[in-house]
């Protein structure tokens, strides 16, 4: 089936099998490999991207479901080589260790602040419950999000 998805501001088109997962479209058809696959069962959040501005797990969305929509991956966050404040905040606050969960964490964290610009620490922890960090670096991830919200 022919699909048309705006990814990081660029119009992309392809003829895909309906069973193609959005994450595979992003990684394999478009070669944007920052979005990771961790569990592949909608549990870990490594594959989190924005679909029309909201966080979703792209391992559990079909590319055909995103037809006509706008998708943002972590590659699309920087503008003119300047990192998004959330990326900057993860860097400043040591919010990553191996980095595997990071693209998904950053995308989930931006969506979280879009919905709640002024979260408490507890709200950040609950708001990121769909994202696992196998390095267990949660403390600094939470600090990064709070710092980005101007709360540290």
């Amino acid at each position: 089936m022919k699909i048309n998805i705006t990814v990081n501001g660029n119009n992309t088109q392809a003829d895909v099998e309906p069973r193609t997962l959005l994450v595979n479209y992003i990684r394999e058809h478009l070669g944007l490999t920052a979005t990771n696959i961790g569990c592949d069962t909608s549990s870990c959040g490594a594959c989190t991207v924005h679909l029309n501005g909201e966080s979703v797990k792209s391992c559990t969305v079909l590319a055909v479901q995103a037809d006509g929509a706008s998708v943002t991956t972590v590659e699309g966050l920087a503008t003119n080589g300047v990192m998004h404040p959330m990326q900057e905040s993860f860097m400043q606050n040591h919010g990553l260790q191996c980095g595997y969960c990071t693209p998904g964490m950053v995308m989930a964290a931006i969506s979280l602040l879009n919905e709640n610009a002024n979260p408490t620490e507890q709200e950040v922890r609950i708001g990121l419950e769909g994202n696992l960090c196998r390095c267990t670096g949660y403390h600094n991830i939470v600090q990064s999000v709070l710092a980005c919200a101007g709360k540290k």
């Binding site: 089936m1 099998e17 309906p18 069973r19 193609t20 997962l21 595979n24 592949d40 069962t41 909608s42 549990s43 959040g45 989190t48 679909l51 909201e54 966080s55 979703v56 797990k57 559990t60 969305v61 079909l62 055909v64 479901q65 989930a108 969506s111 979280l112 919905e115 609950i126 708001g127 419950e129 769909g130 994202n131």
Partner: protein, 274 residues
Amino acid sequence: MIPAPFDYKRASSAAEAISLISEYGQDAKFLAGGHSLLPLMKLRLASPAVLIDIARITDLSYIKDAGDHIAIGALTRHHDVEYSSVLKQHVPLLAHAAGFVGDPQIRHRGTIGGSIAHADPASDLPATTLALGATYVVQGPNGTREIAASNFYKGFLESDLAEDEMLTEIRIPKMNGAGWSFQKFNRRAQDWAIVGVAAWRRGTESGVALVNMDSTPVLATSVSAAIASGSSIADASQQAAAQAHPSDDNNATAQYRTHLAKVLVRRALETASA
């Protein structure tokens, strides 16, 4: 994991969705948010030959004040239920419970209609709408009919919906200031409940339903009967599992589930009565 191949069709109205499902019959399934169906298809626990995508039927995504009740379109996402000011005002228990479904990413995709049609006893919204005395509106080739939530759930992942019927609307009576509580007991963030309780109370009137205590969500009518006849909360909550047949699984034995149900019903009624 990639699902087995299937044909993909898109419906732009309920009528079109029903005519498509009538055309493809048993081999076809509706696709709403996909957050129950796609995981099953990836694991090959379901392999429909045709998916009929109903998520683009935008006129079935709404939350409306309809006088004595709130009408919710079946394609309304958990996120929109959670944040709805109409629901926060008139059916706060449902808005609150929707915020406990999975995690934010799941709530951006999953729909209330998908959750109810899937009829998973471990899901939060079937039991919550049951406690609230909801009516479900379904549409088929021969028109629409209304089903009381208390008559809808027939068995594990089985409901009164016929194969060619679509759930279109959920109607919930306004709570009119009743006290309420939602108790979800799980061991890991984001998980389904090991046992959950949705409850409301207004004086001697109450509604209590249990998550994951049987092959269907359970209306704990003995608890409400005890409250109506003036029993204390402590005594009434001893009746929590009277209508339930819990089973053992990796997370809990039936005995432990029964214990949890009593404790959680007590807590829920204490909160709802405060």
